[in-house]
């Protein structure tokens, strides 16, 4: 999979990113998307101990939480990058939340959603080289360096 690594942070070029909220979107077709936390998000949070997703059937506006995670006494939301309905959640996270740390773009996906305004919302995200450049700026501006748990995906 085409990717770039900036200060240890992996950015996959074929995903769409809501850079501000550090979430990614993979377009599956028929307005269905898979959503997850970026490698940068998992690094900033540190090892994740708990993850609880909203239930399937929950309608979310863009920017509203689709899940809540806890790492090292910090609790925070995963914000939805699209408007739509949650149609599937990653059940594996309930038993092993560190999947998000070890495999943020694969096994650690968070929810699948049926988006209701996908074209317009994808246009507000970045992808490809533009995403790499946006994250490069963010990484340098915030002094971010990604860290990974043992057993993390390799690229």
């Amino acid at each position: 999979m085409a990717h770039e690594e900036v200060k240890g942070c992996i950015i996959l070029k074929d995903l769409y990113y809501a850079v501000q909220d550090n979430t990614w979107v993979k377009v599956e077709g028929d307005d269905v998307v898979t959503v997850g936390m970026t490698d940068i998000a998992q690094s900033l949070a540190g090892p994740i101990l708990h993850a609880k997703t909203k239930a399937p059937g929950t309608a979310r506006k863009k920017g509203r939480p689709i899940a809540t995670v806890e790492s090292g006494k910090w609790v925070g939301p995963v914000k939805s990058p699209v408007t739509g309905e949650i149609i599937e959640v990653n059940e594996a996270l309930a038993g092993d939340a560190q999947l998000i740390n070890r495999s943020p773009y694969k096994d650690g996906w968070v929810v699948k959603m049926k988006a209701s305004n996908l074209e317009a919302e994808l246009a507000e995200m970045t992808t490809g080289d533009a995403a790499v450049e946006a994250y490069r700026q963010k990484i340098e501006q915030d002094g971010i360096e990604c860290t990974h748990l043992e057993g993390s995906d390799t690229y």
Partner: protein, 364 residues
């Protein structure tokens, strides 16, 4: 931009929690970063956002003793809170704080440490989010994104009611309770323990404000809640008081119990079926070393005693291979594997809870 500092005096226990929730939810782009200093005037038990109240707390005991139980929107574990502490709350714009969670805690902790030092307590930052004095924890912290705000909380601990805390938490056995009591006494400290003369809360608040301003490089200006914030605090007080909020998280009951004294010290209990019987271990770990161990067995007869093998393991790292090597000459291969697996499970559970911090490694 200046930071608003609100010294909120003494309020009820539930209000001491509702304040930072309310300020966070009421936050607008025009709201200044805010530091709140408040004394919880009435005692309560407080659990972390992801905790199952029924599993962590003896709810019946708390009800019988009129001890409220409150679930907060920040992380961490169950803790007893009363007027023995001065509660410190930061409700900040996310852009005012470091982006990394561990660095956020470190920044928050710096003025706490400096204030303790000012009063003669040799406190220091203990990563990721503790403050220690000679290996004993003196500050508990929590953090979270609440609404559009970043919240970090901590405390100045004057005194701590160990007995009530021990009664209020759910623990699986008297032996486990005793181990918790021993280790709380050993690894927690308070200003009362550290100082001959306790400073007044006003003195601490004044020094803390100076240290906070020095850390953040911004003046702290005394302020008060706005009308909208008061309303939000009252709404949050009502929400946090609801039974349905308290029991919102319900988890499957695990086959083990793990209790954190502080980030390095854990007590765990595991039992496993083995060879037609049952073996069990109550383990105290300090930075992975076995410092306390009580073994049990049922339905087994062996040519060695539990006391013999317990002695072998105390002081050793709870790694499976190391334990097998120690036990093998006394117990034989199969038993050494079984005991090592039982004890090592506590270690693995603890590592998972501390986020495998020791395993963090950069790629490359």
């Amino acid at each position: 931009m200046k930071i608003r500092c609100i010294e909120a005096g003494t309020v009820s226990g539930i209000r001491s929690q509702a304040i930072y929730h309310g300020l966070a939810y009421a936050r607008t782009p025009a709201t200044p970063d805010t530091v709140v200093l408040v004394t919880p005037g009435s005692p309560y038990m407080c659990i972390g956002y992801f905790q199952d109240a029924g599993q962590e707390i003896d709810l019946a005991w708390c009800r019988d003793h009129q001890l409220p139980v409150i679930r907060r929107e920040t992380g961490g574990g169950a803790v007893y809170i009363d007027d023995g502490q001065l509660f410190v709350q930061w409700i900040f714009d996310p852009r005012s704080l470091p982006v990394r969670v561990d660095q956020r805690f470190q920044l928050f902790i710096e003025p706490l440490v400096e204030t303790y030092k000012f009063f003669g307590i040799e406190a220091y930052y203990h990563p990721i989010n503790d403050v220690h004095v000679a290996g004993r924890k003196i500050v508990g912290t929590g953090a979270g994104t609440i609404g559009e705000a970043q919240v970090v909380t901590g405390n100045f601990l004057f005194d701590f009611d160990f007995d009530t805390m021990l009664q209020a938490v759910n623990l699986p056995s008297q032996a486990f309770r005793q181990a918790v009591q021993d280790n709380l006494n050993k690894y927690l400290t308070t200003m009362t323990r550290e100082l001959e003369r306790l400073p007044a809360r006003e003195e601490i608040a004044a020094v803390y404000r100076q240290k906070c301003a020095a850390t953040l490089g911004v003046e702290l200006q005394s302020g008060d809640f706005t009308d909208a914030e008061w309303q939000a605090i009252e709404e949050q007080e009502a929400r946090l008081s609801k039974e349905e909020w308290l029991i919102k998280v319900q988890k499957q009951r695990p086959d083990h119990k793990l209790f954190k004294i502080h980030l390095g010290v854990w007590i765990g209990q595991v039992s496993k079926p083995y060879d037609g019987g049952q073996i069990g271990a109550l383990v105290t770990l300090n930075e992975g070393l076995i410092t306390g161990l009580e073994l049990s067995w049922e339905g087994l007869e062996r040519p060695y005693t539990l006391a013999e093998i317990t002695t072998l393991m105390i002081g050793h790292l709870a790694e499976k291979e190391e334990l097998i090597d120690l036990l093998m000459p006394v117990t034989g291969a199969d038993d050494s594997l079984a005991w090592a697996a039982c004890i090592n499970q506590v270690y693995e559970l603890q590592k998972l809870q501390t986020g495998n911090v020791t395993r963090l490694a950069r790629r490359n």
